[in-house]
């Protein structure tokens, strides 16, 4: 019987030893260990593993980067694991190519079940992490919808809204964009009308939903 080759990539030796001790009792698994991405490259140069269990903080660039690098070299099923992951972390790992995400607090039996599930084509994701994923996807949907709505704004209105979201007053916006205060007021009214929003505060909230922290403020330095 061919054994499933498991790569445990974790900088903490104690975790690698724990998994090794656990899987040594199972006849259908063999284990190889890596403490860093360099170790991973060295190992996969010899033979690609069937499954890679990768620590989220694997040196030097983290587990998600390791998943992406490994995917370029092997068709390995990759599972990222960590302590107390946030929904953004889980989503980033899955979007980065991970086939699953596990808690490091997983029980030994749970880990063996998860690994056998992967062999059978299942995606290992505990129930609470699945909920986190769904929440994160909902958040993405909301952002996508908000960005689509923002598409009806002109580029100037978008600049004004950006500054409104930063808490700038009309006078500051006028100064930053070199336009009159009256023009700023008209832009703000148009923004509220187009987006069907009741107030500047609602517009600021909308802007943060649509663009969050991903985009640098257009005129942040101009109002400083």
């Amino acid at each position: 019987m061919r054994r499933t080759r498991i790569l445990v990539a974790d900088s903490l030796q104690i975790f690698r030893s724990g998994v090794r001790n656990l899987l040594a009792r199972e006849s259908d698994f063999e284990i190889v260990e890596a403490a860093s991405l360099d170790d991973v490259f060295h190992l996969v140069a010899q033979e690609c593993p069937d499954i890679a269990l990768i620590d989220l903080d694997l040196p030097p660039f983290g587990g998600v980067a390791a998943v992406q690098q490994l995917a370029k070299r092997c068709s390995t099923y990759t599972i990222v694991w960590s302590f107390e992951p946030s929904r953004e972390t889980v989503l980033a790992a899955v979007r980065g190519g991970a086939h699953g995400f596990l808690h490091k607090e997983i029980s030994p039996d749970g880990l063996v079940r998860a690994l056998r599930g992967v062999v059978q084509g299942e995606a290992p994701l505990s129930r609470d992490l699945a909920s986190l994923m769904i929440d994160a996807l909902h958040g993405l949907d909301e952002r996508t919808r908000a960005r689509e709505r923002a598409g009806i704004l002109s580029s100037r209105e978008r600049e004004v809204l950006d500054l409104v979201a930063q808490g700038a007053r009309n006078k500051q916006i006028a100064s930053a964009l070199t336009i009159s205060e009256f023009t700023v007021k008209r832009h703000v009214q148009n923004i509220l009308q187009k987006l069907e929003l009741p107030s500047r505060r609602a517009a600021a909230t909308f802007y943060r939903t649509a663009f969050g922290q991903e985009e640098a403020p257009v005129a942040a330095t101009q109002i400083a």
Binding site: S11, Q13, I14, S17, N21, K104, L111
Partner: protein, 130 residues
């Protein structure tokens, strides 16, 4: 009187209790202490002080500040090696003569360090390490 003398074991191997919220730590301790009988317990199952009074292990490994605080009085009373392994902080410390002492050289809690500390402490008190 040591806990070993209180509760001699059939096979003469020291008994090590692992009280951990990260179950794979128990596996790692078992891997490190091949000379010992290692029993793992989840913190959700009760109080550590009561467990130690009942089990009377030769050494105990915990992975939380709470576990370390709960085990310290028993460890001091029975001259029992007590290790606090924090996988989140990547640290290993040992309770000796009423004081916590940091162990290691920055590599985090390795199986070798755990083995050395437990074996050394058991030897020092005339425990049953073979």
């Amino acid at each position: 009187m040591t806990s070993t003398q209180l509760r001699p074991k059939d096979d003469g191997r020291p008994l090590v209790a692992v009280w951990c919220s990260v179950p794979l730590l128990g596996e790692a301790v078992e891997f490190a202490l091949e000379f010992a009988e290692v029993r793992s317990f989840a913190p959700s199952r009760g109080d550590l002080a009561g467990l130690l009074r009942w089990l009377r292990p030769d050494a105990v490994v915990v992975d939380s500040d709470e576990g370390a605080a709960d085990a310290a009085p028993f460890a001091r009373e029975h001259d029992m090696p007590l290790l606090h392994v924090s996988v989140r902080d990547r640290s290993l410390r040992v309770y000796r003569a009423g004081e916590w002492e940091e162990i290691g050289n920055g590599e985090g809690p390795t199986p070798e360090a755990i083995r050395n500390v437990v074996a050394g402490a058991l030897f020092a008190r005339g425990g049953p390490v073979r």
